[in-house]
């Protein structure tokens, strides 16, 4: 894992510390500004979807609207309910916010990955380093760890408020996040099977350059993991990621018509702003992770290879904007799920689907490693397909059976 090490840590310690501090500061400032623009982007696009103008007063095109909202929130009165657990009530917003910041540390946002020596190393004030805050050997596991910590913020916020709507919201939230993290993790595992590394930086290097030939035409497909991993984990990752973000159509956590505001009902002023900040920051991070895992991170499409670190930053943001637009599009289009639909969808469709795809990928990988002949591939493939069909049939039967039993029980009990 030599290339997982940031080349920065070879030099003098003072310079290294200063450069690291600079990178942390830039990432911090970037996330804050990006959240501001993200909220504005969301409101503008969604008003286009709904045939209205949207924010248009603060600044040109209303671009400073989120800044004004933020200042207003900071100066509002901070209320703590009498019935609350004060310690946990004050702690919860930070437990949401800090993981949201920390996840972004592993995202490579730029660098030159072209050519044979393209390893994404850039030089800042004479120090060689990577355009990401940290490149730990555990890489994407860091993301899983932080997103599992983020659940505490939501859970404690709901519990400590000492009122029932927040509690319902937080129980919904933690059940939803724990459930969809399974599907998300399985989609992630499919990528890891192809990449063979956990480090985000090594993944981006692996995805640089030209991809496989497309019907004999070279240099047309990029080497992004989307191609070898397949479309299924990609789609599962987007859906499960949207659910992790508690973003519509998975926003049962703060379903206004049912439970007022969910876990943050009792929050006001700056504490509410921190939850809001964490939510939008998580959107950006989830998009950045999707881009890194499936769409080559800062790598451009294969046809276009200019030099320089800035082009990586450019491609990264183009792809990130694509994901953020998709989120708004979904928000404007789909109505909210019902709770049982949400759980059915996650456990009975997404998890079996991504698990099956994972086994398929493992099968192909083993076949390549062992140099199977075409006959072996076809024979074992037919067997695997038969097993899949049988499993899918059993699952469908089990689901239908359980459903009928539930209905019968209800009828017996009440009829």
């Amino acid at each position: 894992m030599m290339f997982a090490q940031d080349p920065l840590y070879a030099g003098d310690w003072l310079g290294d510390a200063l450069i690291t501090g600079l990178k942390v500061l830039v990432a911090f400032a970037f996330l804050l500004v990006a959240v501001m623009l993200n909220i504005w982007f969301l409101r503008k696009v969604i008003s286009d979807f709904q045939n209205r103008i949207g924010p248009n007063t603060a600044g040109r095109w209303g671009i400073l609207q989120s800044l004004a909202d933020g200042i207003k929130l900071f100066f509002k009165e901070d209320l703590i309910p009498d019935n609350s657990d004060r310690f946990a009530f004050k702690l919860a917003p930070y437990l949401s916010l800090v993981p949201a910041f920390l996840v972004f540390a592993i995202i490579p946002i730029g660098g030159d990955f072209n050519g044979d020596d393209g390893d994404g190393v850039v030089s800042i004030f004479g120090h060689d380093t990577l355009l990401q805050v940290a490149d730990p050997p555990v890489g994407v596991l860091w993301f899983l760890a932080m997103s599992s910590l983020a659940i505490y913020g939501v859970m404690l916020a709901g519990w400590s408020s000492g009122s029932k709507y927040p509690l319902i919201g937080s129980v919904r939230a933690s059940a939803q996040m724990v459930s969809y993290e399974a599907a998300l993790g399985l989609a992630l595992a499919s990528v890891l099977l192809v990449s063979g590394t956990l480090s985000t930086h090594a993944m981006v290097i692996d995805q640089s350059g030209e991809g496989p030939a497309f019907f004999g035409i070279e240099n047309i497909l990029p080497a992004w993991y989307l191609l070898p991993v397949g479309i299924v984990p990609f789609v599962v990752f987007i859906i499960a990621g949207t659910a992790e973000l508690n973003h519509p159509p998975f926003d049962l956590v703060e379903a206004e018509q049912e439970i007022v505001g969910g876990f943050h009902t009792e929050y006001s002023s700056i504490r509410f702003a921190l939850f809001f900040l964490a939510e939008f920051m998580n959107q950006i991070t989830m998009g950045a992770l999707l881009v890194t895992l499936f769409l080559g991170g800062p790598n451009g499409p294969a046809l276009f290879f200019p030099e320089g670190w800035w082009i990586g930053v450019f491609w990264f943001f183009v792809k990130l904007m694509g994901f953020l637009f998709l989120l708004v599009w979904v928000r404007a289009t789909l109505p909210r799920f019902r709770y049982d639909q949400l759980m059915d969808f996650g456990w009975k469709l997404l998890i079996p689907l991504s698990l099956g795809w994972f086994i398929l990928l493992a099968f192909i990988q083993i076949g390549r490693d062992e140099d199977w002949s075409t006959a072996q591939f076809v024979g074992l493939g037919v067997g695997l397909a038969a097993a899949f069909v049988a499993l899918a049939g059993m699952l469908t039967l089990a689901i239908r059976n359980a459903r009928n039993e539930r209905i019968e029980e209800m009828e017996d009990a009440h009829g």
């Binding site: 730990p136 555990v138 505490y152 519990w159 400590s160 956990l198 009990a413 009440h414």
Partner: protein, 211 residues
């Protein structure tokens, strides 16, 4: 030096969390202190270059197990501060002191007696040395799927049995006869069928009860 400083602060965080778990009056606060301890242990793992263990420590313990603790605490409604003066199990406190003291004594004896250090890191035996060329993730993967493959699969089977057993145990109550004996959750409102539609049969029952 850096390792020593990190260990010092990590150990302080761990101990403070552990004391907090015991001292806190509120079960939810105890769970929060437990998370602090687990995070401190993760930091110590990173210092020991066991990055994978550190990540798994957070994902599994902090992310799943303590979440389940919190679920149980909140749903059972034991999240109120308790009077610790009342001892629920008689004679538990002296036994706990004896057990704690003997465990501590065992740990200290082990560290003092072990010739190669407690973990074998100081050993001259090349078999027990860590190869710095391979990452800890790869090493754990290899060992898990070669030497400990059987144990690994047995654990998987055990967990599956545990999950299925839990489902069976919770579902055994909901046979039709037993459901009849239970009080309806709300007497004046018709309940909903599992599909969310109005359950007509239940409305009938309510009317019969009323008459």
């Amino acid at each position: 030096m850096a390792e020593f400083i990190t260990f010092f602060f990590g150990a302080a965080v761990i101990l403070a969390g552990a004391i907090g778990v015991v001292v806190a009056r509120n079960a939810v606060h105890s769970a929060l202190f437990l998370i602090q301890t687990l995070l401190g242990v993760a930091v110590i793992f990173v210092v020991q270059e066991a990055h994978f263990l550190a990540a798994v420590q957070i994902v599994v313990y902090a992310g799943a197990i303590v979440i389940l603790f919190l679920f149980v605490i909140m749903l059972l409604g034991v999240d109120k501060s308790e009077d610790l003066g009342v001892e629920p199990i008689a004679g538990q406190k002296p036994l706990a002191v004896v057990l704690g003291a003997s465990l501590l004594a065992t740990a200290i004896t082990f560290v003092l007696v072990a010739t190669d250090g407690a973990t074998g890191v100081g050993s001259a035996d090349p078999e027990r040395q860590l190869d710095s060329g391979i990452t800890d993730i790869e090493r754990i993967g290899r060992v898990l799927f070669t030497e400990y493959a059987v144990a690994f699969q047995l654990t998987a089977a055990l967990l599956t049995i545990g999950v299925i057993g839990a489902v069976v145990l919770t579902r055994s109550l909901s046979t039709a006869d037993q459901l009849d004996d239970l009080e309806p959750a709300s007497m004046d409102l018709p309940s909903l069928a599992p599909e969310g539609a109005n359950d007509e049969h239940h409305v009938d029952t309510v009317e019969e009860d009323a008459s």
